[in-house]
């Protein structure tokens, strides 16, 4: 793994078994994440977009081993510079790694235990990892609460006393207490009001600068991702269809799915005619994905080859740029400017 990479995902798969009947026989699998490869560089914000059910959340959780991956590797560079495979780490090692990689949840209501006060919630990671105790613990909790712009006076209150945005701040303080280097933000702002979203985004950016954090930012709001992320991954049905620099993805779109996805972003421009690309049909079931290119039943450029052969996931970027895409015709179709 190269020196500037923090994390590398190799052919990661997560299949959920479907069990039926009296004997709980396995009758099929939901292929939520179906073989993905990508890297995350130190200090960057990597966006992960795709429609609902495409496996974004599962991918994010499989990296942290919040769900057990079916196969593949997740290589992570620890604070000491060692590279470890997260998927093979034992309990004790995993506990250590998890101090470095954390998750911010989408729903600030279900992700905080309603029976614990803010103090207990923020202090729990410090306690279980034996980072602080007694007086030091109290001091550290106050620092963390101030860090996320909440008032320490409120730390004896329960989560039900707070709004969604404030709860998300509590969640961030909880994660921050471990001093992680890599954070997966799983739709961290999509459950919040737009005005609150901006505040949380600002907070996340502030913290990123201050602590040199690396984010994997899972979202479905494309304009937000464009604003926030250095690079963007586009997922479809458990697979990555395109990875590119944020700017490039929007100006030199290569994959027909990305093109359709980006064309759906609402824009404020009265002169511009609506050029939304409407995709045919529904997303196929991840239990039984189509043969060949997964996107072919809905693609506007579909050819015979697409139905038979799975496209190669390859770099089509010019002059050493990284622009990965998985489409047979990426070279022929050429880059498009969607935005």
């Amino acid at each position: 793994m190269e020196e500037n990479k923090l994390l590398e995902v190799r052919n990661l798969k997560k299949f959920f078994p479907i069990n039926r009947g009296f004997f709980n026989r396995k009758v099929g699998e939901v292929k939520a994440v179906n073989g993905v490869d990508f890297s995350i560089y130190q200090g960057e914000t990597l966006g992960l977009v795709g429609e609902s059910g495409c496996g974004k959340t599962t991918l994010g959780r499989a990296i942290l081993r919040a769900v057990e991956p079916t196969s593949g590797q997740v290589l992570f560079r620890t604070g000491e510079g060692k590279v470890v495979d997260v998927t093979k780490a034992e309990d004790r090692q995993l506990k250590k790694i998890r101090k470095d990689m954390q998750l911010i949840f989408q729903d600030p209501y279900s992700s905080l235990n309603p029976r614990m006060t803010v103090k207990d919630l923020v202090g729990e990671p410090l306690l279980v990892n034996k980072i602080a105790r007694g007086k030091g613990l109290q001091q550290k909790i106050i620092e963390l609460i101030e860090q996320v712009d909440l008032r320490p006076e409120y730390m004896d209150r329960y989560p039900h006393a707070f709004s969604g945005g404030q709860r998300q701040r509590i969640g961030i303080a909880r994660v921050l207490s471990l001093n992680p280097r890599f954070i997966v933000c799983d739709e961290a702002v999509s459950a919040l009001d737009v005005s609150i979203q901006a505040q949380i985004i600002n907070l996340l950016q502030e913290l990123q600068q201050k602590y040199k954090l690396t984010y994997l930012f899972i979202a479905h709001d494309l304009s937000l991702v464009k604003y926030l992320c250095d690079r963007i991954i586009v997922m479809y049905l458990g697979k990555i269809v395109e990875i590119a620099d944020s700017e490039q993805l929007f100006t030199q779109t290569r994959h027909p799915y990305t093109e359709a996805l980006l064309s759906a972003v609402p824009r404020v421009d009265p002169k511009r005619k609506s050029s939304k690309i409407i995709l045919k049909g529904e997303v196929p079931s991840p239990i039984n994905p189509p043969a060949g290119c997964y996107f072919h039943p809905r693609c506007n450029y579909v050819q015979e080859k697409c139905r038979r052969e799975e496209p190669l996931f390859r770099n089509v970027g010019q002059e050493g740029e990284e622009h990965y895409v998985s489409c047979h015709w990426a070279e022929q179709l050429g880059p498009k400017e969607v935005m």
Binding site: N24, L64, A66, K95, R98, K99, Q102, L103, F105, D107, S110, S111, L112, N113, P114, R115, E124, P125, V128, N129, D149, L150, R151, E153, Y154, D156, R157, Y158, H160, A161, S163, G165, Q166, G171, R174, V175, L178, I196, Q199, E206
Partner: protein
């Protein structure tokens, strides 16, 4: 850092709100429970019944074993405040005039207005042991001369009220102890089932289905009949509780299992896992507190089943046997039509069973509604 507009400053809040903000789970449950009037009534009734059961010696006017051949099947006396002279502040009861029917040889009781027995509070009477420790002869009420049978007397001339109060001791505690055993078994098996899943879960679930499919009365009868005849009252009592809870735990185990299974998927449990909390910590600090209130409500609703179980068993003569007293064994005396027709007051222990069961159901209902204060 700039100030955050989201923050509400304390002076803008009313004190009641901030009190709710500081309220723990149990305080929130209590707040909701208080609004359920019927449940509060149930709670009050149960507190009264249990107090009387615990201090049965003090509340009952006589020893439950004191028999008197002069008062066989004496009917209940009513407390009186008025006589020919008008109102009396001190209540009294009229004595009986006993005669024997020359044809049936039955004792016949007539109210004798010439015999007035005033009722006194805190009188000295039969000796008993309060809570089984302190020996005393103080009773809440009684008469200094004559007799008082507020609920009548049984075929051996024993005071039914005293017997009901002493019977409450066994009948109401059997529910608690039985449910406690069910609770332990239920949380144990349900927890293992829900936490590990897979083959263990399958095995436990099939076992529960098997136990649930056995008809209860024959099972109880079979087990109760197997109890050795020479066992002491205490031994029989515990054996009966175990028999009752043998079936009772199954429903609870399923409840616990489903709670564990749904909680496993909760975000806040995942969050605890990700920050490195140990399995023990997650179970004891996050999972059990999340469903304990539900389980308590569930348990409250299970107690009436236990009380009814004991009553039916003892009624059939298979549970608590005389000389031990329980509501079921008291009802056993009222098994034939003759009793129902001639001495209907012997059915009164049944009324106490009904009141207790209803009170538990109301209480459990209220608890169930209040158990999840974070729902809508």
């Amino acid at each position: 850092m700039e100030t955050n507009p989201e923050i509400v400053f304390p002076e803008k809040q009313n004190p009641l709100e901030s009190e709710i903000y500081l309220a723990s789970q149990w305080e929130l449950i209590w707040r909701r429970f208080k609004r359920h009037k019927l449940a509060i009534a149930g709670l009050v009734i149960l507190i009264i019944i249990y107090t009387m059961a615990i201090f049965c010696g003090f509340f009952s006017p006589y020893s439950p074993y004191l028999y008197n051949a002069d008062y066989i099947n004496a009917p209940p006396q009513t407390l009186q405040f008025f006589d020919q002279d008008g109102f009396h502040f001190r209540p009294f009861v009229y004595g009986y005039e006993v005669s024997r029917d020359p044809e049936t040889f039955r004792m016949e009781y007539q109210i004798d207005h010439s015999k007035k027995y005033p009722v006194y509070f805190l009188v000295r009477g039969d000796r008993y042991k309060l809570l089984g420790i302190w020996e005393t002869d103080l009773h809440l009420f009684g008469v200094k001369e004559g007799h008082i049978f507020l609920l009548g007397a049984d075929p051996m001339g024993r005071d039914l009220l005293s017997r009901v109060l002493y019977g409450a001791r066994i009948s109401t505690s059997i529910g608690f102890i039985g449910v406690f055993l069910s609770f332990v078994l239920g949380i144990g098996f349900g927890g293992i089932s829900g936490l590990y899943g897979g083959a263990i879960d399958n095995l436990i679930q099939r076992m529960i289905e098997f136990i649930k499919s056995i008809p209860s009365i024959p099972l109880w009868m079979g087990l109760a009949a197997a109890l050795p005849q020479d066992w002491t009252v205490i031994q029989v009592y515990f054996a009966i509780t175990i028999i009752l809870s043998l079936k009772g735990w199954t429903g609870l185990a399923r409840e616990v299992r489903s709670k564990f299974m749904s909680l496993r998927e909760e975000d806040f449990i995942l969050s605890a896992r990700l920050i490195g909390a140990s399995k023990t910590r997650i179970i004891t600090q996050h999972m059990i507190p999340s469903f304990l209130s539900h389980i308590i409500a569930q348990v409250t609703l299970a107690i009436p089943g236990m009380i009814l179980g004991e009553t039916s068993l003892s009624f059939l003569g298979l549970g608590i046997r005389p000389p031990a007293i329980s509501w079921g064994s008291l009802l056993q005396a009222a098994q034939n039509v003759r009793t129902v027709a001639l001495t209907p007051w012997l059915l009164l222990p049944g009324v106490f069973v009904i009141i207790t069961v209803l009170a538990f159901n109301f209480l459990g209902d209220g608890l169930r509604d209040a158990a999840d204060p974070y729902g809508k």
